[in-house]
């Protein structure tokens, strides 16, 4: 592909090394040699998988180029390895308890730390009941490549807001990050369709972990398998499969 105009590449597969040209705002504008440098290019925001190269964008990840108005571009890839991002909600597994912090496995390159005070209603006297091996649903407040990621299970006003330790039963499984993003998009109705088949509880972490619980273990497993399968099904195929299960409900 080499270099193409960015709007032509939207929705297409881009490979590392591809250069996306940002169109000039007005090609007829006169060049100014004096004063502040005038950039005639449209301002863009580049998301994951894109880097700036001079005035243009360079792709550094394999995937589909996505666009959102006014000018946000990113590469959506089907990778499986999670890289922590500040503000993401994830499901972690508590691996060790050391003093005031828990170490949590988040599926990334490093374990995250979680303070025992970062739970709703926790004080120095009133410690939260968290054991090694527990699942926690939390949010990153520190996540960058140079520092240890840090999780909290409360929002800025000190409320749990759905976060915290996930209950004893239920089932956790891993899917690709692409599927998680697909499930979490507001216009996606997979979860809603699933709820119509079996009533269920579900927690989706941006790190590719999904925890789910339905009425019985059998139903939980069916839900897990259906969600895993959704990655490779088109909308109509999915509806057919779901319809088959909806009929079987006693």
């Amino acid at each position: 592909m080499g270099s193409v105009r960015v709007e032509e590449a939207v929705g297409q597969v881009v490979l590392p090394g591809d250069v996306l040209l940002i169109p000039s705002q007005s090609p007829d504008a006169p060049l100014s040699l004096s004063g502040a440098q005038q950039t005639s290019r449209i301002k863009v925001v580049c998301g994951p998988g894109l880097l700036r190269r001079g005035d243009d964008l360079q792709v550094c990840k394999c995937g589909l180029l996505k666009h959102r108005d006014p000018a946000v571009y990113w590469v959506d890839s089907q990778q499986k390895r999670y890289v922590p991002v500040k503000g993401d909600h994830i499901i972690g597994i508590v691996t060790t308890k050391s003093g005031d912090v828990f170490k949590v496995d988040i599926g990334g390159s490093e374990q995250a730390s979680l303070s025992f005070l970062a739970f709703e209603g926790a004080t120095k006297k009133n410690r939260p009941n968290v054991k090694v091996g527990d699942l926690v649903y939390g949010q990153f407040i520190v996540a960058n490549k140079d520092m240890e990621p840090e999780l909290v299970c409360i929002d800025s006003s000190g409320k749990a807001n759905g976060m915290g330790v996930i209950g004893q039963d239920g089932f956790m499984f891993k899917v690709s990050l692409g599927l998680v993003r697909k499930l979490l998009t507001p216009q996606n109705d997979i979860i809603q369709e699933m709820m119509n088949i079996y009533p269920l509880e579900i927690v989706i972490g941006m790190n590719g972990r999904i925890w789910t619980k339905a009425k019985t273990i059998q139903q939980t497993l069916i839900v897990a398998n259906l969600l895993e399968a959704c990655e490779y099904l088109t909308g109509t195929q999915r509806k057919n499969v779901f319809a088959r299960f909806a009929d079987n409900v006693v």
Partner: protein
């Protein structure tokens, strides 16, 4: 201008490991990271039997960015490790030297600074060797890196050229051609500026012949990059 008597028969296939279908008509990749198989010569497309009968194929897996031992970590970039497993037996000196070559090539392509203090492990398992093995390893490594979604500066590919005693140049030789040749050159080409990343060679050749080989490899590389793009399209066609 292309050197005469050139046979460029590179073609590859991706072989997704398809597990028994879990319930619904879906084919999720079985392993932790998708394992790609880049295999040479078009005859064997997707037929497992035929590439076991003699064409070169390599299975590649990429793990990373992952946790790393403190003794191995680099504070400013990712530690890249390549493990090349021969078909039988334990890796020996030859494999170690090839590992080094593949690692250096991968290192130039991977943006390691984006994942400091982590490890990126590339495991290459030789499935069968029918010549042009190192080039095939490079192709497999690149497709696996691409599929794992690691940040790359460019794609790369490996091309093998052999020169026989008459000075004829052949691309992508069989092991027999490789043995009978006067010189073998393995070139790694990158996709952005089409420049040479790595040259590994055996035997005697002149400067002109090197230039000729590079020119031929650059032409062949375009086909490989096109194949990369086509396979990436196939991969993303369902989402």
């Amino acid at each position: 201008m292309l050197p005469q008597k050139q046979t460029c028969c590179w073609a590859g296939c991706i072989w997704w490991l398809q597990p028994t279908l879990r319930g619904i008509g879906a084919t999720p990749p079985l392993l932790h990271y998708v394992f790609l198989l880049a295999c040479h010569r078009p005859r064997c497309l997707l037929l497992i039997n035929s590439f076991l009968t003699g064409d070169t194929s390599v299975l590649a897996g990429v793990y990373g960015p992952a946790e790393i031992k403190v003794s191995k970590e680099l504070h400013d970039k990712a530690t890249i490790e390549v493990i090349l497993r021969p078909k039988v037996g334990l890796p020996a000196i030859q494999e170690k030297s090839q590992e080094l070559l593949i690692r250096e090539t991968c290192e130039s392509a991977i943006m390691g600074a984006l994942h400091p203090r982590s490890s990126i492990t590339i495991v290459l398992q030789i499935v069968s060797d029918a010549g042009s093995l190192l080039a095939c390893c490079l192709n497999a490594a690149c497709t696996a890196l691409m599929d794992a979604g690691l940040p790359l500066r460019y794609l790369f590919c490996g091309v093998t050229c052999v020169l026989d005693t008459d000075g004829h140049l052949t691309l992508d030789p069989s092991s027999k051609q490789q043995k009978e040749s006067r010189a073998v050159l393995i070139l790694a080409i990158e996709s952005v500026e089409n420049k040479v990343l790595t040259v590994a060679s055996r035997g005697a050749y002149s400067a002109t012949e090197l230039q000729q080989s590079i020119a031929a490899a650059q032409v062949a590389a375009q086909k490989i990059f096109k194949f990369y793009r086509d396979s990436a399209r196939r991969r993303y066609s369902k989402s």
